[in-house]
Amino acid sequence: MNRLPDLTPEDYSIYEWQMWVSSFGELGQRKLKNASVLISRCGGVGGVVALQLAAAGIGNMIIAHAGNVRHSDLNRQLLMTHDWIGKPRSESIQRRLTEFNPRMKLKVVDQNISEDNAEELVSQVDIVVDCAPLFQERFAMNSQCVAQRKPLVECAMYELEAQITSMLPGQTPCLQCLYPEVPAIWKRQFPVFGAVAGTIACLAAMETIKIVAQIGQPLFGKLLRCDLNSMSFKTLQIQRRTDCNCCSHLY
């Protein structure tokens, strides 16, 4: 196992308040500094995941997000700015996150996740956070997380509903246990408030911190359903599919 990096005096001054969390402490901060995360798409959900993990002091981050900034991004995608409309989202992400945390090693890839690049990108990190708006991307990432035995924080939203689970290949259901095929019901454009996306994103960032620092009880094998209409939150037990095309060979 790699030796964990030491914290600098600047690290201590920035992260002091979260190191007061007794289960986390200095060891948790060093684990976070040592860790690498891949965030797939940096929109309403992924942008807030990236901001929160950058704020918390994760050491290494890769973000995959293609395309140029559009007006319709700006109601929720907090790393995109008005002055960057028509220019690459990857540049806006790089600029905003670097302003926020220049200590973090950041790589922004001007591509969305696909079967062509998932293996390479997943191989470079310890953990993946899935915030993609298409199941084809989510399945490509899930498949590589299973193949490489990497944990996957899976979060999504629609209108005022949101859900999150954490997956650990070989121990929990994978995404294709939950949805064996690309869901025909899902459409690329969906109703979204930035605050709903941001709510589930903060939970995803916390899941990532817990898994990396090995604290608390991550949502392994559990799906947290959030209904922001009624502010009701339910934790549901999800089942592994014994005939899963993706992960059944691990059992």
């Binding site: 798409r41 929109g43 309403g44 959900v45 992924g46 915030c131 993609a132 708006p133 298409l134 199941f135 989510r138 979060c155 999504a156 939203m157 629609y158 209108e159 509903e161 949101a162 859900q163 939950l178 949805y179 064996p180 095929e181 869901p183 025909a184 019901i185 899902w186 969906f190 979204v192 996306a197 799906l223 359903r225 209904d227 209409n229 009624s230 339910k234 934790t235 549901l236 037990q237 999800i238 089942q239």
Partner: protein, 83 residues
């Protein structure tokens, strides 16, 4: 995302005897026929993009003999990917 089918209702109370999953399914389709396309009509098994939970436990057995108890809750959870 299925609330358009249920006229915006998030919760539907049912008083059914005998209380089985299949009875609950039949009653749901009677009340809101729009749900029918999301299930296999014979087996009442949901399409692959839906999960059904009985209270907090995911149902994987949809046979007609699955009994429900008073105050049991069935939750229909659709696949989401909004990011």
């Amino acid at each position: 995302m299925l609330r358009d089918i249920s006229s915006g209702k998030a919760d539907i109370e049912m008083d059914i005897q005998p209380a089985t999953y299949k009875q609950a399914f039949n009653h749901l389709i009677e009340l809101y026929p729009g749900f029918a396309e999301h299930f296999d009509p014979e087996s009442a098994r949901p399409r692959s993009y839906l999960s059904i939970f009985r209270n907090s436990e995911q149902l994987t057995d949809f046979s007609a003999t699955i009994c429900l108890l008073d105050l049991d809750e069935l939750l229909i959870v659709p696949a989401l990917a909004g990011g």
